[in-house]
Amino acid sequence: MEGPSDGAPLTALLSRRAIRIGAAAADWRAAVRASGEALVASGATDAAYTDEMIRTVEEIGPYIVIAPGIALAHARPSPSVRHAGMSLVTLADPVEFGHKSNDPVRLVIGLAAPDADGHVSALAMLADFLSDDGRRQQLLAATDAMTVHALVAGFEAGGLSDRPRQAADQGKER
């Protein structure tokens, strides 16, 4: 298959063009749309995928708010996905998604996957990155995409020793 493999590093899936800082979003639809547009800007998806992401939330509900202040927006693999990719959008103002515990959302991660496991290790690394309060604050305080990309790249470079274990985990899934 063309494009990044299962073990594609986070920085390979999260391009600088897919990072938006301080996006204006009046509601959750606009917030998800911003993350979809960032995926389109990076070349990972067609615009139709953005609508599919919004429809997914309408169907299944606000469960995409996976942690306090963080939404993980995605839809099923579809023809609108050109290659695996991620986007990262910080919102100018927090937005309510209707989640009982994790609202309001400050950060939307967009995820596009042409298959079930091309993004496994990148998603694991992003979750590790975001699980630390200090790193999350740094990310939210960043004023430009370059800074965010540098933060992520720095973390990835420091965390490479964790990779072989993740690669072994992916093998089990097939």
Partner: protein, 84 residues
């Protein structure tokens, strides 16, 4: 659908089980197939929202609020497994 939140939960559960010194077969299921899969499962890990949609099933259900907080996963898994 196992690509986003489901995948995250599986990865966190793997790490938590390792910390607890336990082995398990983990399977990601969407809400449509979860009820069938539940017949053979010992434990279901999901969010509060999806647990409500799942309704009454045989296995114990562990609900996770913060999908990237390994501490929450470890604490809740340990409690669910220790419970008689």
């Amino acid at each position: 659908m196992g690509l986003g939140s489901g995948l995250l939960l599986r990865m966190q559960a793997e790490k938590a089980l390792k910390q607890l010194g336990l082995e398990a077969d983990l399977e990601v299921a969407d809400i449509g197939t979860a009820r069938a899969v539940a017949q053979t499962a010992d434990l279901i890990i999901t969010s509060e929202e999806l647990a409500a949609q799942l309704g009454t099933v045989k296995p114990r259900i562990v609900t996770i609020t913060n999908f990237i907080d390994l501490g929450e996963m470890v604490t809740k898994l340990r409690a669910a497994i220790d419970r008689p």
